[in-house]
Each structure stands twice: as C-alpha cells, then as structure tokens.
C-alpha cells in the first residue's frame, strides 16, 4: 500500500477530536478533501482521535455514498438518473460522457482522471438533465460542451421562481444570493426582534392558530411539536432544520437556501426562542455543496450582525447554529436517521416511540422542522395568525411551494396559496404542456407519491382535497408526463431509487425494495412473469404495513398507484421464468 502522510490531517483532528463521535462526518469530509478518498490509515487516525471503534468508522464510511474508501478519479461527475432528468435525456448524457472518457483515457493509466456515476435526484429538476462536476451544479447538461463540463467552466444554474404569491419567495429567482443587508432592507430579522419581545408561549400560540403544518411531507402540526418540546423540563433542548432534501423532484429547499438563506436562519432562531433551545443544527444534504457554502457565509453574517450568538438583539437570549453536511443518503431526511447522522453514526432510523419531542438529538427533546416550514414562521408573525389564515383553505392555511418539473413549458418553483387547482398551476403558471403534447399524468409527492391523471386536473391543491382524490401532497413535488412517456421506464427509475436508498435495517424494505426493482426491471423489458403483479402487491403491502420508517412505508406507493391506473402495463409476457433460483 502506498505511504499515506498523516501530517496534513493532524490540525483537523486536533480541532475536531475533542467533540468526539458527533464530529465523525465532518472529520471524514475533511479527510476526503485532503486525500481525495479515505485511506485506511486515515480512517484509523480519525477513529482514534474521535474515540470511535474502527469497525464503526468503516460502517459509517461505507454507508454514505459520497465517501470513498478507495482512490477515485480526480474529477467525479454525478449524473442524475431520476424521472425529470431521465426524461430530459440523462441516459444519453451518461453514454456520451462514458465515450468521451474512454477517448480521453491514456492507455496504461491505472485509473481514469474522470469518473461518471449515475446518482439519485440532485434537486436540480427544473434544469434537467442536470449533473454535478466535483459538486458544482451544471444545468441542461445535454447542451454543454465536454470541455466546459470537465473544466468546471459551465455556468451555474439560477433558480426559476414564479407563482401567484411571493411571500416566501420574495427574494428568490433574482439571480443573486440575498445577503444580510438586502434581507434587512426588506424587513428581514424584524420578526425575530418582534418574537424576542413576546413570550415563547405567545409565539407558539400564533404558530398553532395559524394552522402551520410540516412541509417536509408528513404534515404534522408545527405548533403542537413546538409546544411539546417547550413543555419538557430538560435543561438541554435542540432545534434542527432538516435541509436533507432528496425526494426525487423536490428542489424547493435548495432554492430557498440558495437565494434567501437568512429567512431560514430567522425562522430557526424564532423556533429556538419559542421552545427554549440554545443550540441548533442545519443538516444539509451532501450534494448541495454550493448551497452549503452560501449558508455557511450567511451564518457568519448573521453571527457578526448579532442575529445569532450571545445576547441576540440585546434580548439576553443566546442561540447558535451549527451547519452539518450529509454525505449521500436519502434516508437521512428521515428525522431520526438525521439525528443518528449528526451523532456520527450510520443513518439508521430509530424505532418510534419515543418521539423526537422527548428523545431526539443526543437523546434530548428536539424540534425538527423542514426548511419551508421554518420560513413560514416569520411570515406568520408578520401577518398575524388571522392574516396568515386569509391565505389558503380552511384546513390547509397559508402559502405553499410547488416544485414543477417534467414535460411542462416552464419548470420551476411556484408559490401559490393552498387550494388553487392543479390545472391553474400546470396551465397558467407552468405554461402548460410543451407544444404538440398532451397531458398524460403527474407524479404528486415524489418517488413516495402517487400518480394524478386527466380526471384529477381540477383537483384543488390542499391536503384535504388531495387526500380525498387518493393523492398526496408530500413535499410539494409535481413531475409532469406527456402522452409519449413510457411509464414503465419511470417506475423503473423510482424502483432503482428506493433499492439504492434503503438503509437495510428492517427486512421489508431491505429486501422489498430490491425485489420490487427486479420485478419492475422485468416489466420494463416486456418480460413480466405470471404472478408478477401479485408479487408486487404482496411486497408493496408488506413494505407499506410492516416497514420501520416512512421510506419503506411509501416505497411502493407510486408502483401501486400505477397498477391501479394502468393495469395493462403489468401484464405477463412470459409463461415460465427464464432463470429461477439456483
């Protein structure tokens, strides 16, 4: 094995060592930046410095897709292979790149200087087909030259934002990052000031009566969560922002962080004050490198301006935020898996109960909210609960961000009040279907969602209307398909996603996502076996009923929805299996 010089690692370990295991992901990220991968002696040194058993260091490295335990190419290109990018030609991009690499690889070279990987949704769906070059986002990869791609010269994409409202997105879509000066000029951080002049109970009451529910997909009442944590007697409490956005088709949190990071910081600070927490975390997905840098800079600005830190705005309230990066694991968007990840472990979801409000991060009472949920908080204080309820419907008050991608004229992020029709969003805001094409279906709620078809075009976009229509709002994803799209290919991509992202803890999901993917492969290749629909249904119901966490419980949702809409796609083509068990 080649000699590894551990000297450059020492300052990192001296800095992070005292934190112990919780600093494991930050230490591994730092190590990988230094060495390009995580060599064995480096992993051992990290484990010793942080006092983590070596087998567990290895377990963590091997869990997260963005950590490499073997040397990788100098330039790693991540190509998104999920529905929106798939429809826009991701497979072609993959193929062209592989050919280019072959052409550019010098004979006899041990490993190529460029490596291309197909990965799960990168949250760049409005720029499909998208990819990352060493973490830097590249839009419309099919239109970029190879030289621009590998040199990293391709222009970074700017968000595309529209809608009937611009309450949450007033600073978004302007081709710039809203720094603290611009944010404050527009009234930013005044709601934090206002909050600090009220009692925590008053703020919680406002959030409750505004009817705010979580925007990450589970729609749990935010005020109820806050109240539970505020009521605990614990000296130590945490607030955590879940910015591990990774549901295929979702990019709203990315846009908010990229364009208006201070709004999130303000929301989290108000949350901390309301529940009595002095330490907060923002956990951002590992693929969002640009957004990580933007948020890091914004946190520094906020700290310097006294918006976080000690004695915030002379109120005597103390609160600071630590920014954490994920490392390529969709499951860490599950709240308890996210805690495990911050604690320096594999992202295995925990058994609930106990719930995070009593046993959360480091076993302490914890509020964990999605980015979009938190940016609603300053708005509630600004409009007042009654004013906020003027927006949306009775049961789904407020504004909502929708991520529209796929076969529409204008993919992008749209802010609307709850209750507008799907048709309005599709035709008036997103410009309708591309010329010459008809609407076939839309996937609501991402990979974990369900398909809407023509009869659903006039459904109102609210929690209650979608539930009644057998659809789901999820995290606000709407991926649109025209009449030419092969739904079997779309399902195969979703099946691949879940098989790739299952953590492997509970049996139904660990094996069910794999078996589901295998059957979907047969179906996509027109060689379905008799009984495959029954197999899909048994696997699907078993995952839905018996899985440990939300990933497994929704991993069959889109497939079962497709079986209801298009049973003909699943008809058997063969009479006997081709292989069978050994």
């Amino acid at each position: 094995m080649e000699e590894i010089d551990l000297a450059p690692l020492q300052p990192v370990l001296a800095d992070l060592g005292p934190q112990g295991r919780t600093a494991l992901l930050p230490a591994l990220h730092a190590a990988q930046e230094l060495y390009g991968y995580i060599p064995e002696p480096v992993a051992a040194a990290v484990g010793q410095a942080l006092r983590v058993p070596l087998a567990e260091v290895y377990g963590v490295i091997d869990f997260y897709a963005l950590f490499y335990r073997e040397p990788v190419a100098k330039t790693v290109i991540h190509v998104c292979g999920d529905p929106a990018c798939g429809m826009a030609g991701a497979d072609g991009v993959m193929k062209v790149m592989s050919q280019q690499i072959e052409r550019h690889t010098v004979a006899g070279q041990t490993h190529a200087s460029i490596r291309v990987e197909r990965v799960a949704c990168l949250g760049l769906c409005e720029h499909a087909p998208a990819l990352l070059v060493q973490g830097a986002p590249v839009p419309k990869a099919d239109t970029q030259s190879w030289e621009d791609l590998v040199s990293g010269k391709a222009q970074r994409p700017y968000s595309i934002v529209g809608g009937d409202l611009n309450l949450l997105t007033e600073n978004c879509g302007k081709n710039r990052v809203t720094n603290i000066d611009i944010y404050r000029k527009g009234g930013g951080y005044r709601m934090l000031e206002k909050a600090l002049a009220q009692t925590p109970a008053e703020i919680i009451a406002a959030v409750k009566s505004a009817g705010l529910v979580g925007r990450g997909g589970a729609a749990f009442p935010t005020g109820v969560k806050w109240e539970a944590v505020a009521a605990t007697q614990s000296q130590i409490k945490y607030v955590v922002c879940n910015a591990d956005e990774a549901e295929p088709g979702t990019f709203k949190d990315r846009v908010v962080i990229e364009d208006d990071p201070h709004r999130l910081i303000e929301g989290l600070a108000i949350c901390a004050y309301a529940v009595g927490a002095h330490k907060g975390y923002i956990y951002i997905r590992g693929e969002y490198t640009l957004q990580h840098l933007i948020l890091k800079a914004a946190l520094n600005e906020a700290r310097q301006a006294g918006m976080i830190g000690q004695n915030i705005l002379n109120s005597g309230f103390e609160f600071d935020i630590e920014l954490r990066r994920g490392a390529g694991a969709y499951i860490c968007g599950e709240e308890t898996a996210l805690f495990e990840s911050i604690e320096g472990k594999r992202g295995f979801p925990r058994v609930k109960p106990p719930f995070p409000t009593t046993h959360g991060l480091f076993g302490k009472p914890t509020v964990i909210n999605n980015v979009e949920t938190l940016i609603n908080v300053p708005l509630i204080l600004r409009l007042g609960a009654a004013g906020y309820r003027q927006l949306g419907t009775e049961k789904s008050p407020g504004p909502k961000l929708f991520c529209v991608s796929g076969d529409v004229v204008n993919p992008g992020l749209y802010e609307v009040p709850f209750g507008v029709s799907f048709r309005h969003l599709l035709e008036d805001l997103a410009g309708g279907m591309r010329p010459g094409h008809k609407f076939k279906a839309a996937l609501f709620g991402g990979a974990a969602g369900a398909f809407a078809v023509e009869k659903d075009l006039d459904v109102r976009l609210s929690f209650e209307d979608l539930r009644a229509a057998g659809l789901t709002l999820g995290s606000g994803v709407i991926t649109v398909f025209n009449e030419t799209r092969d739904m079997k290919d779309i399902l195969l991509r979703l099946g691949h996603f879940f098989a790739d992202e299952s953590c492997g803890k509970c049996y139904p999901c660990q094996m069910g996502t794999q078996r589901q993917y295998e059957i979907l492969q047969r179906i996509a290749e027109d060689r379905a076996l008799p009984g495959d629909v029954d197999r899909l249904m048994d696997v699907g119901w078993t995952m839905t009923d018996a899985s440990l966490c939300g990933l497994g419980q929704t991993a069959a949702s889109a497939v079962m929805s497709a079986i209801r809409h298009w049973p003909e796609l699943f008809e058997a083509h063969q009479t006997t299996p081709q292989g069978g068990l050994a």
Partner: protein, 246 residues
C-alpha cells in the same frame, strides 16, 4: 402508579405489568408470536418485522418486540394483513439467503405457507466463507442481518467492537474495519457472536470441519500448526530475551 394493565390479545383479556412488551404479554397468555432478530439478552431493534401485530387505531402494523402494552389496547396477532407481511418477509428471506441451517425460520415458512421459490430470478446475497482464524468461520451467505453478533460484540455484552456493517440496503453485510481478517481486529474470540447467531452463519471452526467430512484426527492435525504457532507466540511474549522454547 398503575401496577397492572389490562388489554385484549386476539379477543382474550390479558393482564400485564406496565412496561411489558406486547410480545411478552402475548407469551404470558399462551399466544406465540414469531420472531427472528429478537433475543432475550440483546437490545430489541424491531428490524425483522416478523413479530408485527395489528393494534386497533394504528395505521401501520406494530412490532410487538418493542411496543409496550397500554390500558384497553386491542391487539390481533394473526389477521390477514399480519399474515401477508410475515409470509412475504419469509419468502423474501428465502430468496435472499441460505436458510438450510436455520430450522426455526424453516418451521415458520411451513407454518405460514411461505414458498421458498416465490421470487424467481431474485438476486441472492452470496458471499464466500470467511475462514480467517482458528476459532470460527463466517458464512455470510447464511446471514439474515439480525444484528445480534454486532450487538453482543458491542454494548450488549463484550464492548469489543470488532464488527459492524459494510454497504447499505440489500447490499448490507457484517464487516470488520476495511474487511480485515479477524485476528487483525479487536476480536477477542469470546464466541458470543457465534452463540447468538440464529442461522449458523457463524460456526465453530471444528464443527465446520467435521461437517466438511474431516475426521477428528484430521481436524487435530489441520489445526495443529495454528495451536503450535499460538503457543510459540505466547512463550515468546513471556520470555522475550531468551528466544523461547521449541
């Protein structure tokens, strides 16, 4: 403080102490719920999900090995939903790993009418037998990922932390640090992992050699070098200056 809780399991009234799991409460009433990953002396992780039951008012099925009883709870241990999940889990397991030496799981397969060939063309989790030490072998093609070995190696018993996981999802495997042979790890060969393994994926080396058809004499001679080497090492460690005995 309430000292007893009344619930019904399969229509039967059951009285249990607060903090009792549904699994234990059912057992006390003579109702057996199947389990794979559960072990009385290991932390219950609720991961095999074979022990799921239906609890009135719960959207999803509930793992009885960790869910505690509560007053007035109505539990059903063998509804259609429960049976479908158990049967499918067993069928998926049979398509994934070698259950030939897991008689308890085979008995469950029979009981639930699970077909071992339900999933044709299914990828199996195959792995070569790891024979890297004189004490036990690791045949992960038989591993059902119940986590018991990892747990007893760590906080559930030995605090040795020699093993953890590699990969994730279907590709998950039990692994040492960078897949090193066990003698190069913190393993102390206490044997607790072998004792809790439910499928014979972990097996004493001599038992394994016997099963391979070796006679006891052959096994003695096969492992002789290892014993000698160990003796030499130990003597050398005791008397570093003298150079040791032959």
């Amino acid at each position: 403080m309430i000292d007893s809780i009344t619930l019904t399991i399969d229509g039967k009234p059951v009285i249990a102490a607060p903090g009792t799991t549904i699994l234990k409460a059912a057992a006390s009433a003579g109702i057996e719920i199947p389990t794979i990953c559960y072990h009385d002396y290991c932390t219950a992780n609720a991961l095999c999900r074979l022990c799921v039951v239906e609890v009135e008012g719960s959207r999803v099925l509930v793992p009885s090995c960790v869910a505690k009883v509560s007053e007035g709870m109505k539990v059903s241990t063998s509804t259609q939903r429960v049976i479908r999940s158990r049967r499918t889990i067993l069928e998926m397991l049979a398509s994934t790993v070698d259950l030939s030496e897991a008689p308890e799981i085979q008995a469950y397969m029979h009981e639930y009418g699970a077909q071992s060939e339900r999933f044709p063309e299914a990828e199996q989790r195959l792995s070569p037998v790891l024979d890297d030490n004189p004490m036990y072998i690791r045949d992960y093609s038989k591993c059902v990922l119940c986590w018991r070995c990892v747990q007893v190696c760590a906080e559930d018993a030995q605090y040795t932390h020699a093993i953890n996981f590699s990969g994730r999802g279907f590709e998950t495997q039990i692994s040492t640090f960078f897949e090193k042979p066990l003698p190069e790890t913190t393993c102390v060969f206490c044997g607790q992992c072998v004792a809790v393994c439910p499928t014979n994926a972990l097996k004493p080396k001599r038992q394994w050699l016997l099963e391979q058809g070796y006679s006891p004499d052959e096994i003695m001679s096969l492992t002789r070098t290892e014993r000698r080497r160990r003796m030499r090492r130990e003597t050398a460690a005791e008397q570093p200056a003298s150079g040791g005995k032959s």
